[in-house]
């Protein structure tokens, strides 16, 4: 199954209430698969092809604001269009899931894989001080598993959550075990889990109003402080990462998503040559595993940050290790995916001379 198909299947299985999206390469298989599977006839999940990505994300805003598990998926240029909506969701504390199957940019760019939306995803992306929870799958299996995880985190913290994938993971086929079926929540369950949701005001409560607007700066500052406290709680509790062969390593490759798969092979190749290399893979890109990287880097000779962009995550890695050891970058641009040998060569070239 393709990574894109895994997203579609997992969404139905984890009790998603709706998908709103607009086709764009390399992720159109997601909405195509949903259209083929017709979940509205089985689980009752709603699937709508919207008129644009702008509409898709605002449908997510509306549906999730009404307490439902709603997702949208797109690729880089479409995700750029959604940034307004994501910022509004963060401001109004509306949980929803956004999947970005990245392609190269800037602009219309290319349809080939890239990881050049790292900054956009981890720094907020729209206007204002906010963060989106970002999960980076490195396999078709994780594409399937992270849909439910993203929903759980989104609703736990009333915050948008993003799955930051790319054309490699979206288009690749691998073995996958789909998650077990979970029924969609009933009206009573939604009421209980989402007392803030706009689903009709009953007499026993005040009206629920979802808005990101507040004209009084004193009140708006308090709201921002509340958001920042929430983000700190997420940082404290939700960091996820994977470390492979880091203990005995002299060097560490830090990569996420598809680049981490390629990095894993680079570790194999390097170790076959007798170079002790480990791989550190952040799974949550926000919150970023800063402490964990700093700990893993202790006593090592250097870090190579390998990502399919011009050098984005390297900033977070450098902040994490704070000058304790050399940190170099390797990346290919514009839709070119680096191969494992290139990474080993760069490692030798930049860190071992």
């Amino acid at each position: 199954m393709k990574g894109n198909e895994a997203i579609a299947n997992a969404a139905i299985r984890c009790g998603a209430d709706a998908f709103f999206g607009y086709p764009i390469t390399p992720q159109s298989e997601i909405i195509e698969t949903l259209a083929l599977l017709k979940p509205w006839e089985t689980t009752g999940m709603v699937v709508v092809q919207a008129e644009s990505e702008v509409s898709s994300i605002n449908m997510v805003y509306g549906g999730a604001g009404a307490g439902k598990r709603v997702l949208t998926t797109s690729s880089s240029p479409g995700i750029a269009l959604m940034q307004e909506g994501i910022s509004y969701m963060a401001g109004a504390e509306i949980p929803g899931v956004i999947v970005n199957v990245q392609r190269g940019g800037p602009g219309l760019g290319t349809i080939q894989p890239s990881q050049s939306d790292y900054f956009q995803a981890t720094r907020g992306g729209g206007n204002g001080d906010y963060n989106v929870i970002v999960l980076a799958p490195n396999s078709v299996q994780e594409m399937a598993d992270f849909v439910d995880l993203a929903f759980e985190l989104a609703f736990k913290y009333r915050n948008p959550a993003m799955i930051l994938s790319d054309g490699v993971i979206g288009q690749m086929m691998e073995k996958v075990v789909l998650p077990p079926f979970k029924p969609r929540r009933t009206e009573e369950e939604v009421r209980k889990e989402c007392p803030w949701a706009t689903m009709g005001r009953t007499k026993d409560r005040e009206p629920n109003i979802l808005t990101s607007l507040e004209l009084k700066p004193e009140v708006m500052e308090l709201r921002n402080i509340h958001l920042q406290e929430k983000y700190q709680t997420i940082r404290d509790n939700e960091v996820r990462y994977e470390a492979q062969q880091c203990d005995d390593a002299d060097y560490i490759i830090v990569s996420f998503g598809s680049a981490a798969r390629i990095g894993e092979k680079a570790v194999e190749l390097a170790r076959a040559e007798g170079i002790k290399v480990g791989l550190f893979r952040p799974i949550t890109l926000w919150p970023f595993p800063s402490k964990e990287i700093a700990a893993a880097a202790k006593g090592k000779k250097g870090i190579l940050v390998s990502e399919i962009n011009a050098g984005q995550m390297i900033q977070d890695v450098k902040l994490a290790v704070n000058g304790a050891l050399p940190v170099e970058h390797f990346g290919r641009l514009g839709g070119i995916v680096p191969d494992p040998e290139e990474i080993v060569n760069v490692l030798k070239d930049k860190l071992m001379r």
Partner: protein, 181 residues
């Protein structure tokens, strides 16, 4: 055991679906598999390629620099991937579309006249299955049994009638593949 394979040719030659059937056969035999296409407009006439890895263990990168097996079905693919076969590896090419095969001596080179055979069988659509047969003869990555199962599992029922013809094409491919180097 892990076999890293690249299949490359013109869009429309069935490159991606050949890879898919191979990957699916691996799945039927409970192996780890990845299928990674160079996707995009290539699917509509340009050069298409797909990397297929079939392995008994966990697969790391779906994207590779060197291959155990390269199946090249046009000249540009020959030029691009022949240098990327690991020493001692296998290169399979179709004699119809390729005028200048590789001059490498450190790999096993096989020719399969699948285009001619498909014409003989009066069915251009079985071309890729003939090539796949050739592959399984020289590199038995999966069994023909697994392949047969994969076809039944992956094809919609209305196409099941075509499976015997496809399996016949596989057998033909096994017969006609010949080593040149």
């Amino acid at each position: 055991m892990k076999t890293e394979i690249i299949i490359s040719g013109f869009g429309g030659q069935g490159v991606l679906s050949m890879g898919k059937i191979l990957a699916y056969s691996g799945l039927m035999e409970n192996k780890e598999v990845t299928w990674m296409p160079a996707y995009g407009p290539e699917q509509r006439g340009g050069t298409a390629n797909v990397t297929v890895i079939v392995s008994d263990e966990r697969i790391s990168s779906p994207i590779l620099s060197k291959y155990d097996v390269a199946i090249v079905l046009n000249q540009p693919s020959m030029d691009k991937f022949a240098p990327k076969v690991k020493p001692g590896g296998i290169l399979i090419y179709d004699g119809y579309g390729i005028m200048t095969p590789t001059d490498r001596k450190d790999i096993h080179v096989y020719r399969i006249n699948a285009m001619d055979k498909a014409a003989e069988m009066k069915n251009s659509k079985v071309f890729n299955m003939i090539v796949l047969g050739g592959l399984l003869k020289v590199a038995p990555v999966v069994s023909t049994d697994g392949l047969n199962k994969a076809l039944f599992k992956s094809l919609p029922e209305r196409h099941h009638g075509l499976i015997p013809l496809n399996m016949q094409a596989v057998e033909e491919g096994m017969k006609i593949i010949e080593q040149t180097v």
